[in-house]
């Protein structure tokens, strides 16, 4: 049991360096695992790598650009991706560069153009199908699941489907019930699909490149609010051959007391929550899932075995959500290591309301994560230093 006073000293340094999150390059992470004090390695790293800032939007745009340049079979199809430069400007400039045969504006026909993308993928082309939001993917879900995800299996390996379905997922701001659903859990339950959800610009670039190069159908869940956010990126990230492996989560912040799993926007909230918790002497480990399917159960379980407590955070509906799967996985594999019941933080079990105050209540906020983590820490019979 660490005494809280000693921990506070370490945490102060940690917070100072955590402001410039430089845990991006793999070497830093490697160093962290070698158990050098986080503060020291982070502060030396800060000065030795150059930091460019990049928004998630630019990261996605550059990834699309580079992959389209590298392989002429890659093409982008969706509503407003061409002349409008993308409904959220993700595909800005691509029409001018690659022409209307490779950046294709479609009529409003999700089922139709998704099926067309699947048919093209059967024949070895590499379509990127953009949904204006993943809510619209429900019009095409038959093709995503039945003709894309299941085809390699039904044809016994004869037909693979190297397609990427991408678009913003989850709640935006004030767009109400039909535009705010999170689809991670639904697609994450389907065999034959790979489901990715990036957080930072590095994630966005690396995962999108991996998705485009992947021979299987990939669901790429972005977040509209994150599009405008800037993150520091290293030179390695900016290289055109950069990619992040599918199926591996990332520890955004190391900790000892409680593991917090999150994906997409909730990673940012969890990091903020971790800072607040640190002031209270709780060292939270924040895991950025990156990959919903396949889930990096190994890393999640390893983290829980270290901290003995788990909080899962997601924006989507609670029942049958991503948190439910993580909770089950941890109970199956690391039951004896748990010191407290798993805390699940999810969106409210209601369709998204419109009024801004109600919307705030329907989506997890930083305070909710903090409270859950504290509950997880103090739930054990009090003979711990509950100072």
């Amino acid at each position: 049991m660490l005494s809280f006073t000693r921990r506070k000293v370490l945490c102060a340094d940690f917070i100072a360096s955590a402001k410039n999150v430089t845990f991006l390059s793999k070497t830093v992470l490697g160093k962290a695992f070698e158990r050098t004090p986080m503060a020291a390695s982070a502060s030396t790293r800060k000065f030795s790598t150059s930091h460019k800032e990049m928004t998630v939007r630019d990261a996605l745009n550059s990834a699309l650009d580079e992959e389209m340049a590298a392989d002429p079979k890659v093409f982008l199809m969706g509503e407003e991706v061409g002349e409008y430069q993308g409904a959220y400007k993700i595909s800005k400039g691509l029409l001018d560069k690659y022409g209307p045969e490779r950046v294709i504006d479609t009529p409003i026909t999700e089922a139709g153009f998704t099926g067309i993308g699947v048919g093209a993928a059967y024949y070895g082309l590499r379509p990127i199908i953009e949904f204006m939001t993943f809510n619209f993917s429900m019009q095409a879900i038959d093709h995503i699941i039945n003709s894309a995800a299941k085809s390699n299996y039904m044809s016994a390996g004869q037909i693979s489907v190297p397609i990427v379905f991408r678009g913003p997922n989850g709640a935006a701001a004030g767009v109400a019930a039909q535009h705010s659903q999170c689809y991670a859990a639904w697609y994450g339950s389907c065999p034959g699909l790979k489901v990715l959800s990036p957080y930072s610009s590095e994630d966005a670039r690396g995962l999108l490149k991996s998705a485009i190069r992947d021979p299987d159908p990939v669901i790429f869940l972005e977040n509209e609010i994150l599009y405008g956010e800037s993150f520091p990126v290293s030179a390695e990230v900016l290289d055109s051959s950069f990619s992040i492996p599918i199926g591996k989560a990332k520890i955004e912040r190391e900790g000892k007391d409680v593991s917090i799993t999150a994906f997409s926007k909730m990673v940012g909230f969890s990091l903020q929550a971790a800072e607040i918790l640190a002031k209270d002497g709780i060292s939270a480990e924040v895991i950025n899932l990156r990959s919903i399917r396949p889930l990096d159960r190994a890393m999640i379980n390893a983290s829980v075995r270290k901290t003995n407590r788990l909080v899962t955070v997601e924006e989507g509906f609670p029942q049958h959500g991503v948190g439910a799967e993580i909770c089950a996985s941890v109970i199956e594999e690391s039951f004896e290591y748990l010191d407290a019941p798993v805390e699940r933080i999810a969106g409210a079990d209601v369709p998204m309301p419109y009024a801004p105050n109600l919307e705030r209540l329907a989506v997890p906020q930083v305070e909710d994560i903090v409270r859950a983590a504290k509950r997880a820490c103090y739930r054990v019979v009090p003979n711990s230093a509950a100072a």
Partner: protein, 338 residues
């Protein structure tokens, strides 16, 4: 056509003997459409079908023994027993389904046609492959059908949309379900020529097919062909087929495409009757041989359960030892835990 008919009849027999199971949809009576179109295609052209796909597979060149083994669920089937009656796929013969949802094959076929055009125009390969999509009358009320008529015409894709109008969608009569039952008329509003043909006469179907396929190959865009045909059996082998009028069935039975072609051949003395009998005998033997082959083939091994979910098996993720699960030697032993 004869192969198709014999094959389907054998399927019915096998089903009632318990060797075939699940949903089996037979094509008896509609053979003229399949033969009329598919026998004009090259190996590289694509066929997309529905759940009533056995004969489309046979016409496209998939060996009868492979189809029969697939129906029996054996590992020697064209999809190693993983697809089944409704999901026939053959990369080699460019038969890309086999879709159970009606209307699902139409956008996929449009995509295959799109890829043909893309290869020609963007990748600069010499490609004039044509896609033929088969579907039924019920599908023509489905949204995806119209979405694809629009996009195929908009982008002038090399595709032929073939409607096998057999007047019945399970028990729903075409006239009860459709505001304007003339399906061929639905092409022109999208700028696609609509053609109406007697689907019980293989020679007439072939004439129309020649034109439509040539049109697509030239790059002039899609065609919508409505073939009036009929299925002699029920929707599937589980369908009691009570709603259809026996008079209607008798009327179409008398117009059996195989009998009609046989009469035509004999009337015009194109081929001596003995040769026809020899063909019939050959087909019988072929189908019997297919059944024997399927019967004697092994069922899929347990390890096949987890194979082919992904082209890149790393998609199964990372095991508890931190390595990719698919590299674990026990991986394909088939437990539900994965």
């Amino acid at each position: 056509m004869l192969l198709g008919r014999s094959f389907e009849d054998m399927c019915a027999q096998m089903y009632y003997r318990g060797k075939m199971f699940g949903f089996v949809h037979l094509y008896n009576g509609q053979e003229a459409v399949s033969t009329g179109f598919i026998r004009l295609l090259t190996d590289r052209d694509t066929v997309v079908s529905t759940y009533r796909d056995h004969v489309h597979a046979l016409s496209k060149g998939v060996p009868a023994r492979a189809v029969m083994a697939e129906l029996f669920g054996k590992t020697t089937g064209c999809c190693r027993g993983q697809g089944g009656s409704m999901h026939m796929f053959s990369r080699e013969h460019n038969l890309i389904g086999g879709f159970a949802f009606i209307g699902e094959g139409i956008p996929v076929a449009t995509g295959a046609a799109f890829s043909s055009k893309y290869r020609r125009e963007v990748l600069k390969e010499s490609c004039d492959d044509v896609t033929v999509a088969f579907f039924g009358d019920g599908t023509c009320n489905n949204g995806q059908f119209f979405e694809c008529l629009n996009m195929a015409a908009l982008w002038k894709l090399p595709i032929v949309f073939v409607v096998e109008n057999n007047l019945w969608a399970i028990g729903m009569s075409h006239f009860r379900a459709t505001s304007d039952p003339e399906i061929w008329k639905k092409g022109p509003p999208f700028g696609i020529p609509g053609v109406h043909v007697d689907g019980m006469d293989v020679l007439k179907v072939r004439e129309v097919a020649k034109e439509a396929i040539a049109r697509a190959r030239r790059g002039d865009g899609p065609t919508l062909v409505e073939c009036d045909t009929y299925r002699f059996r029920g929707h599937s082998l589980a369908d009691p087929d009570e709603l259809r009028n026996p008079d209607e069935k008798a009327h179409y039975s008398s117009r059996d495409p195989i009998a009609a072609l046989k009469n035509y051949i004999l009337e015009h003395s194109l081929v001596p009757e003995s040769k026809l009998k020899a063909i019939e005998k050959n087909i019988e033997e072929l189908v019997e041989e297919a059944v024997e082959f399927a019967d004697s083939s092994p069922a899929p091994p347990r390890s096949q359960l987890l194979e082919n979910v992904f082209a890149d098996p790393k998609g199964f993720g990372i095991g508890s030892d931190g390595k990719y699960r698919c590299e674990d030697p026990g991986f394909t032993q088939g437990t539900a835990q994965v």
